[in-house]
């Protein structure tokens, strides 16, 4: 049981993620989480404003079910399958973050500096989460997929477009991490 409660190493987690991809293929579907954002827009009535959202969202009910499952999975994993171990980050990562005034690094899943209520309810903190979410939602649809659709599924299928998209993910991620985050914190 201890082995389950401790964080899982990459060589266990990676193959299990591949299992998700392959299971969905065997169920006649493809793994892609970002499509759900479009489906949620359609359900909210976005079809009245843009043709992009005019599609039968009921065909995506299976994927929304995966979302509901993921929410439940997140609950189960943190509530019943965790021993509260801190995240074993590289000490350099910890000191880099400390230099940006991050405290309690790795003690929670997400930093309080971004997701703690004090940060969230400040103008700056609120704007950061809104801009971040907006970029994710806009970029993923523009690129036609996210980490699951491109980095996992697309690369597994040896698709060149997915490789280009993943290179893009890294261009954006590196610019944010190395140049913009130090300006924000």
């Amino acid at each position: 049981m201890d082995i389950i409660l401790q964080p899982w190493p990459w060589f266990v987690s990676g193959p299990l993620i591949a299992t998700v991809l392959l299971l969905l293929l065997f169920f006649g579907k493809t793994f892609g989480m970002s499509s759900n954002l479009r489906t949620l827009c359609t359900i909210s009535g976005a079809g009245k404003h843009a043709a992009f959202f005019k599609f039968d969202w009921r065909a995506q009910k299976w994927n929304l079910t995966v979302v509901i499952g993921a929410i439940i999975g997140g609950f189960i994993a943190t509530k019943f399958l965790s021993d509260g171990s801190i995240i074993e980050l590289n000490p350099e990562t910890v000191s880099d973050l400390a230099a940006m005034n991050f405290t309690q690094v790795g003690e929670t899943l997400l930093p309080n500096e971004l997701y703690g209520w004090e940060a969230v309810l400040s103008l700056k903190g609120m704007l950061i989460l809104i801009v971040a979410g907006f970029l994710v939602g806009f970029g993923t649809r523009y690129a036609g997929g996210c980490t699951s659709g491109h980095a996992i599924t697309g690369l597994s299928n040896l698709q060149l477009p997915s490789l280009i998209a993943v290179i893009g993910f890294f261009i954006g991620g590196l610019v944010m991490t190395h140049f913009i985050l130090p300006l924000l914190f």
């Binding site: 299990l16 591949a18 993921a70 350099e92 990562t93 989460l129 809104i130 280009i164």
Partner: protein
């Protein structure tokens, strides 16, 4: 009943992503700083097994549980949309520390401020839908 298997896959996915710490902002930050092999190991081993699995599916022309051939729809050929869209996504991914799967998982994990990210991501997707015809693809 038809949806139960998808619910199961979702629960499994959520548990794996929490236990692997891939839902952690810190792990994404560490990845983009090239300070740990952890995330590269996760994505790399997932892709390695994925490549083998998809190769076998194609080689033996395996069928899905619905009795249909398993096909992966090819992505349309382009460069601009993938590099631009990908970069925009990357900026958001490194800032929020969450992509469109972990967002929901973190909500289940009790991190309620992530709802702001989810709603903003819907707004971003909506904005793309409005601007689609004006963007280079």
């Amino acid at each position: 009943m038809k949806f139960l298997k998808f619910l199961f896959v979702g629960v499994f996915f959520g548990i794996v992503l929490v236990k692997s710490e891939a839902v952690s902002w810190y792990r994404i930050y560490e990845m983009f700083k090239f300070q740990s092999f952890h995330m590269y190991g996760i994505i790399g081993s997932a892709v390695l097994i994925g490549v083998c699995g998809i190769y076998l599916i194609k080689k033996y022309k395996l069928k899905s549980t619905e009795g249909t051939a398993i096909v992966l729809p090819p992505k349309e050929k382009s460069f601009v949309r993938y590099i631009l869209g990908g970069s925009i996504f990357g900026l958001g991914w490194a800032l929020a520390g969450a992509c469109p799967g972990p967002m929901y998982i973190l909500l289940g994990a009790g991190i309620y401020p992530i709802l702001i990210v989810i709603i903003a991501a819907m707004a971003g997707t909506f904005a793309y839908g409005l601007l689609k015809s004006k963007l280079p693809h």
